[in-house]
């Protein structure tokens, strides 16, 4: 069973500094910010999808997504011109799983990624969240030569992630808090209680993919509170009409900001699907160094010509 982590580590994450939020290694290398957002979003979704394929618990997957996201942030963070998104995603998942009670072998991880990259789309949110049971990832074929090369890359990238993050591998999550808060709010008597909890969790999962980097800018109590606030409005559960969120260390301003952030995800995802979805726009999101370089070059030519 999962350990009940201590109060502090459950509540506190390292947050991105203002300097880290204002620039990134990729932008310094000339990657446009909107392209960076698209690639990071696709990479975060890929991590989520791979974790599900490997049947890892959501708490483990979420930690990997946060780690993956931290890696790209700030002028000293990883650049898309230096690191492939897929391998950073795979290494994040490998690293977090290794520290968890559910370690995965490099072969299992790489097979899952090989399978996912064989799919016609790189936006895995809709297809995989709608829980079609995927094929057995272990069975996906990986030639021995490819396996060995990718395994070396997996290890190398793992050590780069650790260096870039200064070994800050600890991630606090809002899921358990969310349940505790719902208990405190005494809503479990309500007929809609389970719908409410489900909806709140769904918001927390979606927030992991936010281009506003919500998990890197807000602490778990605020994320849990905002998810509950929004979910309650959506499923029509009446919460206390006082300022209950203050009990959970969240002020009105931060709550408002997060609720808007959560609400904006739908249109953001739609926009990404318009641009990169299967059979739409430009095809797959560039997920390797070469593909990102090519896309940057393509845009430069387009802009230069126009």
């Amino acid at each position: 069973m999962a350990p009940t982590p201590n109060q502090n580590s459950q509540l506190v994450n390292p947050l991105a500094t203002t300097a880290q939020l204002s620039s990134s290694g990729s932008q310094l290398d000339g990657v446009p910010a909107d392209l960076e957002d698209s690639v990071r979003f696709a990479g975060a979704s890929l991590t989520q999808a791979a974790g599900m394929l490997l049947r890892l618990p959501q708490e483990i997957i979420a930690q990997a997504v946060v780690l993956f996201t931290r890696f790209w942030v700030g002028p000293e963070g990883g650049s898309l011109i230096e690191y492939g998104t897929e391998i950073v995603s795979a290494s994040s998942l490998y690293l977090i799983a290794k520290l968890s009670p559910y370690p995965k072998s490099p072969r299992q991880i790489l097979a899952a990624y090989a399978y996912l990259s064989s799919l016609p789309t790189s936006l895995l949110t809709s297809s995989l969240f709608s829980s079609k049971t995927p094929e057995n990832p272990d069975a996906y074929y990986l030639s021995e030569g490819t396996y060995l090369t990718q395994r070396a890359a997996l290890m190398k990238t793992e050590s780069h992630i650790l260096r870039v993050l200064g070994f800050n591998t600890h991630v606090a999550l809002p899921y358990t808090l969310c349940i505790n808060y719902l208990q405190t709010l005494d809503v479990f008597q309500h007929p809609q209680a389970s719908a409410l909890a489900k909806r709140a969790f769904a918001h927390l999962n979606t927030a992991l993919l936010s281009p506003q980097l919500l998990y890197l800018t807000h602490q778990p109590p605020a994320l849990a509170t905002a998810a509950i606030y929004l979910a309650a409005r959506e499923v029509g559960v009446q919460l206390p009409d006082n300022e209950w969120w203050e009990v959970f260390d969240t002020d009105r301003e931060e709550l408002g900001f997060l609720v808007v952030g959560l609400l904006s995800m739908e249109s953001f995802v739609k926009g990404e699907e318009e641009r990169w979805g299967e059979g739409k726009g430009r095809g797959k999101v560039p997920m390797t160094v070469e593909a990102v370089e090519a896309e940057v070059e393509r845009r430069r030519i387009l802009e230069g010509g126009g």
Binding site: M1, A2, P3, T4, P5, N6, N8, S9, V12, N13, P14, L15, T17, T18, A19, Q20, S22, S23, Q27, L28, D29, A33, D34, D37, G74, P75, E76, Y94, L95, K98, L99, P103, P106, L154, M155, E158, S159, H160, L162, R163, L165, G166, F167, N168, T169, H170, P211, Q212, T217, Q219, R252, E253, E254, G256, F257, V259, V260, G261, L263, F268
Partner: protein, 464 residues
């Protein structure tokens, strides 16, 4: 060879270009960070001047995003980001890339352990003296060793007065991915093992109490945070010249749950401090394994010598039973089902089964002996928790714990030269778990020589 030379030349050229590119990027970064810093300062000044904004209704905010925060994803280069700035931001920890170990000059080697080596070092920029521990990177088959990751993670999370402070993690040359990772820790003058070796007399009872209080408060903190240390022993307990004790060496530490996660390795804790349930092969264990070690440390402080110096697993168990008595279904229900218990043959006569702790430490008060006896309960369930230990009457009776400021100071070996190490078993290595299956192990004769033993003649353990 010409070909070789030209290729070398090309490599060289590439290298130069690469270095140039890197340097330009570095400079850009520096400029950027500087600009950012100035903007932040300006903003902080502005914030200070400004009145707190009146908060609008939440409904409003939901419908109509607050003006000073954009929702669009593009961020203008160099623009002040529209992130909320609040007090929490200054309180929350941050992350950044590892610095290079070159920021430190090595002063002298302190100690080589089984998991790495430790040096005294000075940070060049600040002149501050620290301890540098190089992590051993073996078993790279699975990438970065999980034990090293756990050591860093658990130590990072254990901010406590009586746990050594991990300042940062620094790395060696980036070319070689796993070659070198170092923990930068506060430097302490002594470890309890080396210190005791050089003392003519054991610590005074009042000093022992202070040491134990500090130790158990650290263990209480770890256990409250779901961390097991799993290698408590005197060489992993540091002390400075102000009588302050700090727990170190998290090389074996890990998170645990309640109930404990299945299949934890029993290959933990240095032999002389290893609890009987581990020796008997349990894979589900918890806080009591640390408390057993605390008991061993208590005994060691009293006599200035390790309490249970077994030569191997079997001998360690023999020494334990000799001191604490033989377990029975009564005193330790279910112990016979532990993997290694099947091969034990134990004496049946009840009068030989008692603990001799009381008589072995004649100078200990009744309360002290009761505490030591409970810490060294064979049945893990019967050992007190760290919190219970802290509340024990032993610490309230005379002599009272000595104030740390009143502790004598000792010359520091770590501060000057390499320590010589008196032989003692080292922390267990990863690998095969030990099995006690040298046929049957017969403990039935264990107390045959008790009278002799007590008069100093020692005894033999029969292996059948």
């Amino acid at each position: 060879m010409a070909g070789g030379a030209s290729r070398w030349a090309n490599d060289k050229e590439d290298e130069v270009l690469e270095a140039q590119r890197k340097k330009e990027k570095e400079e850009k970064k520096r400029a950027k960070l500087e600009k950012q810093r100035k903007l932040e300062e300006a903003e902080a000044r502005r914030k200070q001047a400004a009145e707190p904004e009146s908060t609008q209704g939440l409904q409003n905010e939901v419908e109509r995003p607050v003006k000073r925060r954009r929702l669009s994803n593009e961020r203008d280069d160099g623009d002040v980001p529209d992130q909320p700035r609040r007090l929490m931001r200054f309180v929350a920890p941050e992350w950044g890339p590892c610095r290079h170990v070159d920021n430190f000059e090595r002063l002298n080697h302190i100690e080589e352990g089984s998991y790495g080596w430790v040096s005294r070092a000075r940070e060049t920029a600040t002149g501050e003296v620290v301890a540098l521990k190089k992590l051993k990177m073996d078993n790279l088959n699975d990438g970065f060793p999980v034990t090293a990751l756990r050591e860093i993670q658990t130590l990072k999370e254990s901010r406590h007065r009586h746990v050594v402070d991990l300042r940062e993690v620094v790395v060696g040359d980036t070319l070689d991915e796993f070659s070198s990772v170092f923990l930068v820790m506060e430097f302490l003058e002594h470890d309890l093992k080396t210190l005791q070796e050089d003392m003519a007399e054991p610590f005074l009872p009042s000093e022992i109490k202070t040491l134990l209080i500090q130790l158990s408060s650290a263990v209480e903190f770890l256990h409250d945070h779901w961390i097991l240390h799993r290698d408590l022993k005197t060489s992993n307990i540091l002390m400075n010249n102000r009588g302050e004790l700090k727990l170190a060496d998290f090389g074996m530490a890990r998170y645990f749950g309640d109930p404990s996660p299945p299949k934890m390795t029993q290959l933990v804790v240095t032999l002389w401090y290893r609890a009987p349930e581990l020796l008997l092969g349990t894979t589900t264990y918890g806080k009591p394994v640390d408390m057993w070690s605390v008991g061993c440390i208590f005994g060691e402080l009293l006599t200035k010598a390790p309490l249970l110096q077994g030569k191997n697993e079997v001998d360690e168990l023999a020494k334990i039973f000799e001191l604490c008595g033989i377990p029975t279904e009564d005193s330790w229900p279910g112990f016979k089902r532990l993997p290694n218990a099947k091969s034990l043959r134990l004496p049946r006569t009840p009068q030989t089964q008692g603990s001799i702790i009381r008589s072995k430490f004649p100078f200990l008060t009744g309360a002290g002996a009761a505490l030591l006896t409970s810490l060294l309960s064979l049945n893990p369930e019967r050992r007190p928790s760290a919190a219970e230990m802290l509340a024990h009457p032993y610490f309230k009776e005379d002599p009272r714990p000595k104030a740390t400021a009143m502790f004598p100071t000792f010359p520091s070996k770590a501060g000057q030269e390499k320590r010589r190490r008196v032989a003692s078993p080292s922390a267990p290595q990863r690998g095969q778990a030990p099995k006690i299956d040298a046929g049957e192990v017969d403990f039935s004769g264990i107390f045959a020589g008790r009278d002799l033993e007590e008069s100093g003649a020692g005894f033999q353990l029969k292996l059948v």
